[in-house]
């Protein structure tokens, strides 16, 4: 993670500008091809309150090279990672079903982990605070550690080459509502 570009307290203007240019804040009601096991339309309805944000392009994603973005807003704890894992993953999109995205705050005590991706292992962590590890192939499940939630998984939609974030499964650390970013 480049600290100058984006931190746990929110994205800097440059990145935020990029995200907004990419079509943030539009409400999506599309059927979600990424997680049909979760009951397509019902899930779509559940996710209807989330913004639809373009967060990247499939063709430029490199294996094991996470891209940091902010979702569902640019407020505290919004920092997330988009990563091409190289192996199929739960909720993965793309031809290899290997492109996933997660909110990257540790769900134990909130340490930013966007810089802690373990290339080759498909693992986020260890958390710098208390060494929790998360499995990105399995919906952000805890591998070992103390977090009481899986990493919130950002639901993705692929339209042509464009990758959109369209919702979240799970609650972001520190928030009481994913869509409330300030008191």
């Amino acid at each position: 993670m480049n600290e100058n570009e984006s931190g746990p307290g929110g994205a800097c203007m440059k990145r935020r500008a990029f995200l907004f240019r990419s079509g943030a804040a539009a409400v999506s009601t599309v059927v979600l091809p990424a997680l049909p096991g979760m009951g397509g339309e019902a899930l779509a309805a559940e996710m209807a309150r989330y913004p639809r944000k373009k967060i990247g392009r499939l063709s430029v994603l490199k294996l094991d090279a996470p891209v940091i973005f902010n979702y569902p807003d640019s407020g505290p704890s919004s920092q997330s990672v988009l990563v091409k894992l190289g192996v199929p993953a739960g909720g993965g999109i793309g031809p290899g079903e290997d492109v996933v995205a997660f909110n990257s705050q540790c769900t134990h005590m909130g340490a930013p982990m966007a810089g802690n991706y373990q290339a080759g292992y498909q693992v986020l962590g260890p958390c710098a605070f208390h060494q929790t590890l998360f499995d990105l192939t399995r919906h952000g499940m805890v591998i070992a550690g103390h977090a009481t939630e899986s990493l919130p998984q950002v639901l993705l939609e692929l339209k042509g080459d464009d990758i959109f974030a369209v919702g979240l499964i799970g609650l972001i650390y520190g928030r009481h509502d994913n869509l409330v970013s300030k008191a």
Binding site: T107, M109, A111, T137, T148, S150, G170
Partner: protein, 896 residues
């Protein structure tokens, strides 16, 4: 499988209600591991109004979103709903963000962090909590009234006592539970009935888990948690606090490593997450074979002695010299464990020089020999000795702390605890900041005893003068138990050789001819009396869930218990901190706290002294029985009474900080104890040794007759026969077991938490890649783990001559039968486990690791060697978890 078929098993909400500013707040502690993190409970009406994100709008008084490390985040697993006095409430349970002790700043484990999901909520998987007493009729457990169930239990109990004697009336109960409950249970079993047929949940007998330390003179929970942050070097044997004592790791160990550069030396066949982190931070991993610790300890000591790195001043001041040992002052009196253990001259020495001479004469203390036995690089032994003992360049001694758990003392109980205790002595461990020697503990410390164990009634005798406590498993198997009260333990799966034990239960209950086929109370009593008179057994089970098989298959009567959060209770943690666990909701259905169930049964049996009105009355009665113990908390009762308060209410005012025992009284003040053996301590009140509190000598010295420590021998030959039998042969692998961070005990709560269940939907077996490859096993495959050579000690054993009760002696006399045992597991192939060794969860109800564990207790100490099994491991197919994304992870846990 395609990602298209994937859906996480656990799908939490993406928003939670916040407690409003006027929510009621209760303090409690986590119910699980020994650390017992302080927790806060918020309760407000289910219909709201809820709190808002501004600090003025919520009970946590925090602005949301919370920043990192804020503590007190309420996620989906921290909220539930529960009923209190007929009204539905929202409940939030969080690690106390204001905690001043233990989990300072509100850190927590995955287990305690999810404890809100333990709360009974009929809309959650907790809906199958037991709610009514039940009696088995025509093999169906039918709901009945309390009086109906307890009349039967009382009548059968009285019949058993009158016709078969008190040692036919058995109790198997938890020692981890709250003082109120353990006090009531022991009052009935030990005081009113006086049975010697009693055992706690984790032992076959009421015995000491770390007897080597006891004989040396060390208390087993002498440290303060701050010692782990103050030490220069810590030896952790047979445990990893990351995995099983989480907040010790998160707060205290990490503070040491990060702030004071504490070096951690782990002794463990697994490279756990904690081990990997330690190695990255200058620590060391001694990856020993199970049960091989003693030679490693001895070799480390040899290196220390040969270099003169021992703490000479401490040894001079605090170990028994020739005269003290020889005249008996250091040894103890007749008919104590100490007396028996020393009768044959196997262990005692005449002071430091004598012990040193013995140690240096032992083949096993040579680093290369020890390293060969343990399967490690001998260089690691030398390095460990340097890290533990080599003085700093300026000549200063380094502060060394030693801690251990079951990988150590439940593989080779007596010799391991003696030899690691000796290491503590020569390093000067005990009583000084950062220089502790302690167990880390497993469960919390809620054991209270209303009366001593009636040793003279135990028929077990060993060579010399000494009796042993009844081995309750063997006592059951031998057909001596006619009535068993089983309280809060699975008994069968949690004991060794569990397949053979299960056979015994089945034989005496289900397969007995006398089965209840009527709902007429007298008819039921008559049938059960016939059962016990015919040699059968009646089982009564107090539980919160129906457990299989003890409750589901063998119990004739099942009684629903109330638990954590459903009653005010008191318990201590691993640094002897005593705290109140508040009631904040009503137990489901007709469930009653265990103390109340026992009181009702005792009264029906005609015993007096059970008319407690509430748990506070039980607590107040129990307090005086703690006097002189490491968790002496009688001061709470005394001071509360002086203040005109209930003892529970006084303790409640101390919140999640509680009071650190032993507690002493100075005028009107309660004086706490930070660490035991604190010989530099100055604040012992001048009120004399006896009275409302007892000033045990372990406050200011060590726990022997002289107050000094005994250096003991740990001769390997007394272990070699059993170890030789247990070592893997041919294709067999070591199978050792332990806790895995994400699960607690038998999983009684975890199996009802989808969040945890997705991680561990089934038992697992960690296996080294080379061992897996040789067997065609991949991660995600089902494997069968099986042995047909599980040794089970049988019959009543009277030892007369030396050696008769050692393993070879038992074999020769026909007291060892070989049983079969097996379990299944999902393979996790990982280089984190030592080659030749496998590791599994210690208590998965439907695939119990203990089925292959030898049911031959340590002949000196009656401890099972749970961590020492070997078996064949073979692939039996592919599990669904191998290719799905919703459940189980096979990623490495040691990526740091």
């Amino acid at each position: 499988m395609s990602a298209k078929d994937s859906s996480p098993l656990y799908r939490p909400q993406d928003k939670v209600p916040l407690p409003p500013a006027n929510a009621e707040v209760f303090t409690t502690c986590c119910d699980y591991c020994v650390v017992a993190c302080g927790m806060k409970v918020y309760r407000w009406p289910a219909g709201g109004p809820h709190g808002g994100p501004k600090k003025s709008q919520n009970a946590l008084k925090k602005d949301y979103p919370l920043p990192p490390l804020a503590g007190g985040w309420i996620g989906p697993n921290q909220v539930t709903q529960a009923t209190y006095r007929g009204k539905l409430y929202n409940i939030a349970v969080v690690a106390d963000p204001d905690a001043k002790a233990v989990n300072i700043g509100g850190t927590h484990s995955i287990r305690g962090g999810c404890i809100a999901q333990k709360v009974y909520n009929p809309r959650s998987p907790t809906r199958d909590r037991l709610q009514n007493p039940m009696v088995r009729v025509n093999d169906i457990l039918m709901p009945v009234s309390w009086d109906f169930a307890l009349d039967i239990a009382a009548e059968v109990s009285k019949h058993v006592l009158a016709n078969h004697g008190e040692d036919a009336w058995a109790m198997k109960y938890y020692s981890y539970q709250f003082f109120e409950n353990t006090y009531a249970a022991t009052k009935l079993a030990l005081k009113s009935i006086g049975t010697p047929a009693i055992a706690e949940h984790d032992h076959p007998s009421r015995v000491d888990a770390a007897p080597g330390w006891t004989d040396i003179g060390y208390d087993i929970f002498g440290a303060a948690y701050e010692d782990f942050a103050l030490a220069d070097c810590i030896l952790l044997s047979g445990t990893d606090p990351y995995e099983s004592k989480t907040t010790l790791w998160e707060h205290w160990f990490l503070e040491g490593v990060n702030a004071h550069k504490t070096k951690l030396i782990f002794v463990n066949p697994r490279r756990t997450t904690g081990v990997a982190y330690a190695e990255k931070n200058g620590g060391l991993h001694l990856d020993v074979y199970p049960g091989s610790d003693t030679p490693v300890h001895m070799a480390i000591m040899r290196v220390i002695l040969e270099n003169g790195w021992e703490d000479g001043e401490f040894i001079k001041n605090w170990t028994n010299n020739f005269w003290e040992t020889d005249s008996g002052f250091g040894r103890g009196t007749r008919n104590t464990p100490w007396q028996w253990r020393t009768t044959w001259g196997m262990f005692q020495t005449n002071g430091f020089e004598d012990w040193k001479k013995w140690l240096l004469s032992q083949e096993e203390s040579k680093p290369e020999v020890a390293a060969r036995i343990a399967g490690i690089d001998p260089k690691k032994i030398v390095l460990a000795a340097e890290m533990l003992a080599k003085p700093k360049p300026n000549g200063e001694r380094i502060k060394t702390t030693i801690c251990m758990e079951k990988g150590n003392y439940w593989s080779n109980n007596y010799l391991n605890t003696v030899s690691i205790g000796d290491l503590g002595v020569i390093l000067g461990c005990g009583g000084r900041p950062g220089q502790a020697i302690t167990r880390l503990g497993g469960h919390q410390r809620g054991g209270s005893s209303a009366a001593p164990y009636p040793m003279m009634k135990s028929p077990y005798k060993v060579p010399g003068r000494r009796r042993l406590e009844i081995d309750l498993d063997r006592w059951v198997e031998s057909g001596h138990v006619r009535y068993a009260q089983v309280i809060g333990t699975t008994w069968i799966q949690s004991m060794a050789g569990s397949s053979a034990l299960q056979d015994a239960f089945k034989r005496y209950t289900k397969l007995n001819a006398h089965q209840v086929r009527t709902l007429d109370k007298n008819g039921i009593v008559e049938t059960l009396k016939k059962r016990v008179d015919s040699g059968g057994m009646v089982v009564v089970n107090q539980e919160i869930y129906l457990r299989d098989p003890i409750g589901a298959q063998y119990a004739d009567i099942v009684l629903p218990a109330a638990t954590w959060g459903e009653e005010d209770f008191v318990r201590a943690n691993g640094e002897r901190r005593v705290r109140l666990y508040s009631k904040f909701y009503d137990a489901p259905g007709e469930a009653l706290p265990d103390w109340k169930i026992i009181a009702l049964l005792a009264q029906k049996m005609g015993f007096e002294g059970y008319d407690w009105k509430d748990s506070n009355e039980v607590f107040e009665e129990s307090c005086r029985f703690s006097r002189g113990s490491r968790i002496d908390h009688n001061a709470i009762r005394v001071i509360a009474r002086r203040k005109g308060m209930r003892a529970h209410d006084l303790l409640r005012t101390y919140g999640t900080t509680g009071l650190q025992a032993p507690l002493l009284i100075d005028g009107e003040r309660i004086v706490e104890t930070k660490r035991l053996h604190d010989y530099q301590r100055k604040d012992i009140p001048d009120t004399g040794p006896e009275g409302m509190t007892i000033h045990n000598k372990r406050l200011l010295a060590f726990n022997s007759h002289t107050g000094k420590l005994n250096l003991l021998k740990s001769p390997w030959r007394h272990w070699a026969d059993f170890y030789g039998f247990m070592q893997p042969k041919g294709e067999e692998l070591w199978v050792t077991s332990g806790r895995i961070n994400e699960l607690w005990q038998s999983g009684f709560d975890d199996e009802r938490r989808p969040y945890v269940r997705q991680r561990w939907p089934a038992n697992f077996l960690e296996i080294h890649p080379e061992d897996a490859k040789a067997r065609g096993i991949e991660s995600g495959d089902w494997v069968a783990v099986e042995s047909d050579r599980v040794p089970v000690q049988t019959g009543m054993n009277l030892g007369v001559k030396d050696g008769e009760l050692w393993f070879d002696g038992l074999m020769k006399r026909g007291h060892i039968k070989l049983a079969s045992g097996q379990f299944t597991a999902v393979a996790v192939v990982t280089p984190a486990i030592k080659q030749g060794v496998t590791f599994t969860n210690f208590l998965e109800m439907n695939s119990p690791a203990n089925s292959i564990v030898p049911r031959v207790p340590d002949p000196i100490t009656q401890n099972y060697r749970f961590k020492l099994a070997r078996a064949s491991v073979r692939r039996i197919g592919e599990s669904p978890y191998k290719r799905e994304f919703a459940r189980m992870s096979f990623k490495r846990r040691d990526l740091v």
